[in-house]
C-alpha cells in the first residue's frame, strides 16, 4: 500500500508545474556549475603546475651545495581539487601558499588574485545549489502534502478505508523523496558529464565513491526539509498558512541564521593579533638570548671570524636551534588558535542544517578549512624530512662541522653544513596527498550524525502530528 501511495504521489508530482520548474532550474544551475568549474580548473591547474615547476627548477639550482638546499625558501601552492566542484568551501579565499625550508615553515598565506571588492566570492557549487535551491524545492513539494489533500477532501476518502495513517505518511514521504531525487540526480549527472567530457579533470575510483557519499548526504539533507514540510503541513489546516510558516523557517535557517551567527561570533570573539604574535616571538628570542650561557660558553658571540677564539660554533648552533624551536612552537600555537577560531565560528553557526550540510560536503570532498590545515601539516612534515635528509647527507662529508642550525652565515662561511653537491633526484620533494576516504568520512561523521538526528526529530514530529490530524 505504501508503494501505491508513493507511486500515485510521484505521478502527480511529475505532471505538476513545480516539478517542471525545479527540474529546469536545477539542471541549468548544475550545467553552469560544471561548465564554469571546468574553465576555472583548467586555468588553476595550469598556474599550479607552472609555479610548482618553477619551484623545483629553483631547488635544482640549489643542489650544487647541500646547505643551500636546506636554506632555500620553497614556495608551495595548494593544488586545485577536482571535487571543489561539489563543495568549494571558499577555496579561493582561504590560504593557498606555504613557504618552507628545512628549519621552519611560515604561517599560511593567501596569494593570488582574489577580488575582495566583489560582494561575495563563493562559487556556485553543488553544495550551494542543493543547500539553497533544492531545499527550497523540497518545501514547495511538501507544503500541501497533508493539508492540501484535506482542503481538496481526498484525505478523508483515503483514510476512510483500512489504510493505517503511518502508511499514508510513509508513502507520501517516499513519493516526495523520489520526486526530489530526480532533479538532484539528473543535475549531478549533467554536471559530471560536462566535466568528464572536458578530459582535464581526472576523477578516479576514490573520487567516485566520494561523489556517491556526497549524494547520500545531500539526500539526507533534503529529507530534513521534506519531513519539515510534512510536519508543518500536518500541523496546519490551510496550505497557505503552512507555506507562510515554511518560508519563514527556510529563510531563517538557511539564509539568515548562518550570517547572524557569524556576526554574533565576530562581535564576541577577540582574535589574537599580528602584534601579539610579534611580541611573543620577540619575547621568546630575548629570553633565550639573555640566558645564552646555558647553551655553552660564548654561545651568544656573533663574530663572523672563524679563527676568533671567542667563537664556540657548537654552542652557537645550539642557541640558534633553540631560538628556531621556540619560534616554530609559537607559530604552531598561533596557527592552532586561528584554526580554533575559524572552526568555532563555523560550529557556532551549525544550528542551521545548511551549515552542517556544507561542512559535511567539504569534509567528504576534501576541501575547505580542514584541508588547508592538513596541507599546512604536510608542508611542515616535509620540512622535517628535508632537515633529516640534510643531516644524513651532511654526515658523509668529513670537512663539514656537522652543525645543522638555522644560521645561514655559519653554514655558508664556516661549512657548518656540507658544501658538497647533492644528487637532485635524492632530494625529497613536496608531494601533496589528498585525505583518504576513511579520514574524510571520519571528519564528516558528526555532521552526518547531526543530519540523521534532524531527520529523526522531524519524522517523529510529523508522525505524531499526523496521527492527531483532524481530517475534516
Amino acid at each position: 500500500m505504501i508503494r501505491q501511495i508513493a507511486y500515485r504521489e510521484i505521478l502527480e508530482n511529475f505532471l505538476s508545474l513545480r516539478f517542471a520548474l525545479s527540474l529546469l532550474l536545477t539542471t541549468c544551475l548544475f550545467a553552469v556549475c560544471g561548465y564554469v568549474f571546468v574553465i576555472d580548473y583548467q586555468g588553476q591547474s595550469k598556474d599550479y603546475w607552472k609555479k610548482m615547476n618553477e619551484n623545483l627548477a629553483a631547488l635544482r639550482k640549489q643542489s650544487s651545495a647541500l646547505y643551500q638546499v636546506a636554506f632555500y625558501q620553497q614556495g608551495i601552492y595548494s593544488r586545485p581539487q577536482p571535487l571543489a566542484m561539489c563543495a568549494e568551501g571558499q577555496a579561493k579565499a582561504l590560504p593557498n601558499f606555504f613557504e618552507v625550508n628545512a628549519f621552519t615553515a611560515d604561517l599560511p598565506k593567501t596569494k593570488g588574485r582574489v577580488n575582495f571588492a566583489l560582494p561575495q566570492f563563493n562559487s556556485v557549487d553543488w553544495a550551494l545549489i542543493i543547500s539553497l535551491i533544492l531545499s527550497f524545492a523540497a518545501l514547495v513539494f511538501t507544503y500541501d502534502i497533508i493539508c492540501g489533500e484535506k482542503e481538496v477532501g481526498t484525505l478523508r476518502l483515503m483514510l476512510a478505508s483500512t489504510i493505517p495513517r503511518y502508511k499514508v505518511l510513509l508513502g507520501k514521504y517516499l513519493g516526495a523523496m523520489v520526486t526530489l531525487a530526480i532533479p538532484l540526480i539528473i543535475g549531478m549527472l549533467v554536471s559530471l558529464i560536462i566535466i568528464i567530457s572536458s578530459k582535464d579533470v581526472a576523477i578516479d575510483g576514490g573520487k567516485w565513491i566520494k561523489i556517491l557519499a556526497i549524494m547520500v548526504v545531500s539526500l539526507l539533507y533534503l529529507s530534513i526539509f521534506v519531513l519539515l514540510g510534512m510536519f508543518v503541513s500536518s500541523r496546519t489546516g490551510h496550505s497557505a498558512n503552512s507555506m507562510a510558516i515554511l518560508l519563514l523557517v527556510w529563510v531563517a535557517s538557511v539564509i539568515l541564521l548562518p550570517s547572524f551567527c557569524r556576526i554574533i561570533f565576530d562581535v564576541a570573539y577577540i582574535e589574537s593579533t599580528e602584534q601579539e604574535l610579534q611580541r611573543r616571538l620577540r619575547e621568546a628570542s630575548d629570553e633565550i638570548w639573555n640566558n645564552h650561557e646555558k647553551y655553552g660558553k660564548n654561545a651568544g658571540s656573533m663574530s663572523n671570524n672563524l679563527s676568533d677564539p671567542i667563537n664556540n660554533p657548537p654552542a652557537r648552533a645550539r642557541l640558534q636551534n633553540a631560538i628556531m624551536d621556540a619560534k616554530n612552537q609559537i607559530l604552531q600555537e598561533h596557527h592552532s588558535r586561528w584554526l580554533e577560531q575559524a572552526l568555532a565560528r563555523r560550529d557556532f553557526a551549525s544550528v542551521s542544517p545548511a551549515v552542517i550540510y556544507q561542512r559535511a560536503c567539504e569534509a567528504i570532498a576534501g576541501t575547505g578549512i580542514n584541508r588547508c590545515a592538513d596541507l599546512y601539516g604536510q608542508v611542515k612534515r616535509y620540512g622535517a624530512d628535508l632537515k633529516e635528509f640534510v643531516r644524513s647527507r651532511d654526515m658523509e662529508d668529513p670537512e663539514s662541522l656537522h652543525l645543522i642550525g638555522p644560521e645561514r652565515n655559519m653554514a655558508s662561511s664556516w661549512r657548518a653544513i656540507s658544501h658538497n653537491p647533492v644528487d637532485f633526484d635524492t632530494v625529497p620533494k613536496f608531494q601533496e596527498r589528498d585525505l583518504a576516504l576513511g579520514e574524510s568520512l571520519k571528519l564528516a561523521i558528526w555532521d552526518i550524525g547531526l543530519l540523521v538526528l534532524f531527520n529523526l526529530v522531524f519524522f517523529a514530529a510529523s508522525f505524531v502530528s499526523f496521527l492527531r490530524y483532524d481530517v475534516r
Binding site: L25, T110, F116, F136, S239, A240, L248, V267, L339
Partner: protein, 516 residues
Amino acid sequence: MIWKIAKKEFLLNLMTFKFAVGAVACIVLTAVFMPILAADYQQRLGTYNRNVGDNETELRNVKVYRSITHTIYRPPAVLSAFSAGMEKQMVGNAKIELDKVPELSVTQRKGNPYLPIFAVFDESLIFKIIISILALLVAYDVISGEREQGTLKLMLSGATARHQVLLGKIMAGLVTLCVPVAITFVIGLVILISFPMVALSGSDWVRIGLMFVASIAFTLIMYQLGLLFSCLTRRSAISMVLGLFVWIIFAIVIPNASVQLATQIRPLESEEKRDGRMLSLKNDLARELGDIKVDFSSSLITSDEGDVFGGYYAKRRDIYWLHAEQKLNSLDIPVKLRYADKFWELEHSNLNSFFGQRTLANRLSRISPISIYENVIAILAGTDLTSFQDFINQVKIHRNEVVGYIRSRTDNFSSASFFAVCTEEESAEYTKLYLQKEKAGDEQAKARAEQALKEWELENPVKAVSLNLQDFPWFKYRPTLAGDLEKAIPDLVMLAIANVVLFAASFVAFLRYDVR
C-alpha cells in the same frame, strides 16, 4: 468604489497569519540587530575621531615642509546600518605624500586567513528577503484565490469595472505592505538615534526619506509580480509556486551568477605581469634619480632630529651640505612627482580591473529588482563604490593643493625650509666659525674660536618651531548629496519603470481573465 475594495482587502490582509508572521519577523530582526549595527558604527566613529585628532595635532607640530605627510580619513557613513555596501571591504584612509598619488585600496585582511568571509548584515537585508517574500505571499491569491472561492464572480457581476477592482487591490497591497516597511524604518531609526554619538544631519534625513520611497517602490514591484502571476493563473497554488521560483531566481541565482559571469567575462590580469610593470617603472625611477649627481663631499657636520609622521629635519648643518641638499631636492622632487603620476596610473588600472568586475557584476544583476534595490540603498547610504571613489578624488585634489602649497612655500622645493630649520645665513655663519675652530693654528686660537662658536650658538639657539600653517589647504570631506542623488536616479527610474510595466501587464492579464 476603488477605496471600498482597497479598504476591505486591507482589513482582510491585516488579519492574515502570513502578515503577522512577516511583521513580527521584521520587528524582531530590527530590534536585535540595529543595536549591534549602531554600536559598530559608534566604535568606527570613535576610531575615526581619534585618528583625525591625532593626525591634526601632529600636523600642527610639523617643522619642515618635507614632513607634511599626513593621512586623510574617511568618516564612516552613519547610514551604513541601512546598507553596509563596501564599507568594510574598502580602506577608508589615504596618505598624502609627495612621491605617491593617493588611491583607494581594498582591505587586505590581516589576522586570521581562515576567516575570509565578512559577515555582512544590514537593514536592507530585511527588505530584500523578508518583506519581498511577504509581498509575494500577500499577492499570490489576490485574483486566483477570489476566483477559487467564487467571490470574484460576484464582485464583477455588479457595476464595478475591472480596472477599479485591480486598482483597489493594488492600493490595498501598497497600504498593507507600507505597514511593515514603516515599522521597520521607525524602529531602526529610533534605535539608531538613541545612541549618543549618532547624529543625523538634514541631508541624512533626505537620504532616509528616499530610501523609504525606494523601499516602497521595491516592495510594490514584488507585490505586482505576485499579482501578475495571480492574474495569469487560474489556481492560487500555481501562482504561488511561480512567484516563489521567480523570487529564488531574483534573490539567489542572479546575484551569484552575475558575479560568476563577471569574473569569466573580465578576467583579472595576472599578478606577475603587473608586478613586472611595476618593477620596470621602479627601475626607471631609480635610474633617473641615479642620474642626478650632487656633490656632498665637502659637507662637514651632521645633526638631524626626528619630525612628525616619522620624518626628520636638519637641525644645524654646514652651508656646503645645505646647498648640496637644496640642489638635490630641487632636482629630484620634480622627478618623483612625475613618477608618482605614472605609478598612480598603473595602480589605478590595476584597481580598475577589480572594480570593473564588480561594476559588471552589478550591471548584470540588474535583471533582478532585488539587486537594483540593493544598489539604490547603497548609493543613498553613501557606502557604495562610487562614494569611495568620490572620496579618493577629493583626497587627490587635496594632495595637489598640498603639493602646490609646498612648492610655493619652498620656491620649487629648493629653499632650505623644505628640509631644515636653520636658515642659509645661520648656516653660513656657523660654518665660518666652525672652520675657524678646525683650522686654528695653535691652542690659543683654537680655544678662542671654540669660545666664539659657543657664544654664537648661545645667541642663536636652534629654532625648531612648528611651521605656520595659516593658509594651509585643510581637507574637508564633503559627501555630496546632489551627486549621490544623481547616481541613484537611474536605479530609481528602473524601479519606477518596472512598476509601470508590471502594472500594465497585470492590467492586460486581468482584463482577459476568465472569472468562472
